[in-house]
């Protein structure tokens, strides 16, 4: 014991020892919060998910029930299954679209043209607008709905356009699945644009760190802009594709209907056990998607070192 203290005392005087001391000091607020506001609730939630909880006058009565809550969530509850699969599908469908779209926009916003700063300002606006409560209320706006109806009936060409596009692509022999994917993307353009604010920001910042000499050298060798994109820009930003993918997936937490279901099960029906089981199933399925996609993408990622 004395020895350790002595060692500590010695090391405090050195630069390295001081660094360790300050490091622990700086981390400690976070560590406290991590334990009290993250780790303990997380473990409690895991415990809840395996138990039946009854609120009584003496407080909460917990009885261990094994996997009953999980089984109930997956087989008995009418909504959970469907909504979980739906939001997983949403993630799987939207993430590639959002990433491709935001990379494309970032490349465009990096070019020089008139009104660039204004355009940038507009494209980052979704960072502010498309989050939280505004988004949920927006979908319930009646006036907007009516106006959209009017616009759709007035501009029949609108719907016809997508239809025409679909036919042309099918005729050209494009796979039916891909065609419906793309036309679906056109239909959900607002959703995609509004979810890709931060991603555009990250890609744009990444593109700007690529040194211009590489492009100059490529141009001297006769590379076109198209080639420069595939051979320079894409490999250089490929680590960011990974970052953006992770961000897009975790960003989908708050807008997922599963979240609402979990909350209403917990707070409206006071079925804490079932609600926690659902939350854990949701967490695990998100982790699965993250792991699988990270595995495949990190193989392709190019690192300079």
């Amino acid at each position: 014991m004395m020895n350790v203290l002595k060692k500590m005392g010695m090391s405090i005087r050195t630069y390295e020892g001081q660094k360790v001391l300050w490091g622990i000091l700086f981390v400690s607020p976070w560590l406290l919060g991590f334990v009290f506001f993250f780790l303990i609730p997380l473990l409690t939630s895991l415990q809840y998910s395996f138990s039946n909880i009854e609120a009584s006058s003496e407080g909460l009565q917990m009885t261990f029930v094994g996997f009953a809550n999980f089984i109930e969530a997956l087989t008995v509850n009418t909504n959970f299954n469907r909504q979980l699969i739906e939001s997983m599908m949403d993630i799987v469908i939207n993430v590639p679209l959002i990433i491709i779209f935001s990379l494309f926009i970032a490349v465009i916003l990096n070019q020089k043209f008139f009104g660039r700063s204004l355009t940038r300002a507009i494209f980052f606006l979704p960072v502010i607008l498309a989050s939280g409560v505004i988004l949920t209320l927006e979908s319930t706006s009646l006036v907007q709905e009516i106006n959209q109806q009017n616009a759709a009936s007035g501009g029949l060409a609108n719907a016809l356009g997508a239809f025409e596009l679909e036919r042309i692509m099918l005729r050209a022999g494009v796979n039916e699945f891909i065609v419906s994917y793309l036309t679906g993307a056109v239909g959900r353009i607002y959703e995609i644009v509004s979810q890709s604010g931060v991603q555009i920001l990250i890609f744009l910042a990444g593109i700007q760190t690529i040194s211009p000499q590489i492009y100059e050298a490529a141009k001297m060798e006769g590379a076109t802009g198209y080639e420069a994109f595939w051979k320079i820009t894409l490999p250089m930003v490929s680590p960011l594709i990974l970052v953006n993918m992770v961000y897009t997936i975790i960003d989908s937490f708050t807008r997922s209907p599963v979240t609402d279901l979990i909350l209403s099960t917990g707070f409206d029906n006071f079925n804490f056990g079932l609600s926690s089981a659902m939350a854990w199933l949701y967490f695990v399925s998100i982790m699965l998607i993250l792991l699988i996609s990270t595995y495949f993408i990190s193989k392709k990622v190019f690192y300079q070192e």
């Binding site: 494209f123 744009l204 854990w280």
Partner: protein, 313 residues
């Protein structure tokens, strides 16, 4: 001759690209701005214009009644003040605590700090829903691991106060705080070590180095975290509606707006759902208006700072 033709072709190509680019950007900008324009147009419309077939964007009769209604129903000025106070407070505390933690993870390594950093990543990855219910119970009977009951004899109910926000942000565990710690860590990693060593040789301790040299250098990262934290706290309905039930902040007001509307307007005037929706749109516009005004002034720092924060590697 061939060169001239080549140049002409090149010019056509360049012109057509910039034309396509213009169309694309204009179209997408419209898609983004559409909801806001829509809301502005709805907000200044007179109710009689709602059913007028000739009014789509520009109303025939202007009115500010919608604004008046929304202002009074949302209790706007109080709400605005409360929201500013809450978002500002949490933003300041979160930025401070995340900067400390980020610097420690980047430069002040000690045994086990890598494991702890894995903990930060875990906080990013776990959906907040998973821990919300235990958090709620914890805050309703807050005991701080049994310390508070020892002192006062009973637990404290922290719900419906600003304490949950203050406590989580002081300990860098508020909304998306893991992300901010990550940003700071990446940024401090990018600052050359030589600077710290020079400061040490000149006689600065670790604390002085951090506060006098590293923090001023970290301005871009601080701006980024500040902006994100403020905006997300402002819009957050997830924690806010759970922790605060009766206080007036923007997001609780917004989420109870449809209910309040039908309560106040539904009985007195006409309970036309379109009219209610109209006032609701005005309310949303009013709620995001301060953010948009702030955004206009700070948006140019957005790209600049994210570029320098080193999220990008």
């Amino acid at each position: 001759m061939r060169l001239a033709r080549f140049l002409k072709l090149y010019k056509i190509k360049r012109f057509s690209w910039s034309f396509i680019r213009f169309v694309l950007i204009a179209g997408l900008s419209f898609v983004i701005l559409y909801p806001i324009l829509q809301k502005i147009s709805t907000a200044i419309k007179h109710p009689s214009d709602l059913y007028s077939p000739i009014v789509v964007w520009i109303p025939e009769n202007y009115t500010l009644d919608n604004f008046k209604n929304a202002l009074s129903i949302m209790n706007y000025w109080d709400t605005l003040f409360n929201t500013f106070a809450l978002a500002g407070l949490t933003t300041l505390l979160t930025t401070a605590s995340c900067a400390l933690a980020g610097y420690a993870f980047a430069r002040l390594r000690f045994k086990g700090s890598k494991v702890l950093f894995a903990g930060v990543i875990l906080t990013i990855l776990v959906p907040p829903t998973t821990i919300l219910i235990p958090m709620y119970m914890n805050l309703r009977e807050f005991s701080l691991g049994g310390i508070i009951p020892l002192l006062t004899g009973r637990t404290v109910n922290l719900l419906d106060s600003y304490w949950p926000f203050i406590l989580t942000s002081i300990t860098a565990n508020s909304l998306k705080a893991g992300l901010y710690i990550f940003i700071f860590t990446q940024f401090f990693r990018g600052i050359p070590k030589v600077i710290e060593e020079a400061a040490y040789i000149d006689g600065a301790g670790v604390g002085t180095t951090f506060f006098r040299i590293m923090l001023p250098n970290a301005f871009p990262a601080i701006v980024t975290v500040f902006l994100f934290s403020f905006v997300w706290q402002w819009n957050d309905s997830f924690y806010t509606t759970t922790y605060l039930t009766s206080s007036n902040v923007m997001s609780t007001q917004l989420s109870s707006l449809p209910y309040n509307l039908s309560n106040v307007l539904g009985n007195t005037t006409n309970s036309d759902p379109f009219y209610l929706s109209m006032v609701q749109d005005t309310g949303i516009l009013l709620a995001i208006l301060p953010l948009i005004i702030i955004y206009i002034f700070v948006q140019r720092y957005f790209v600049q700072s994210v570029e320098r924060t080193g999220i990008v590697g």
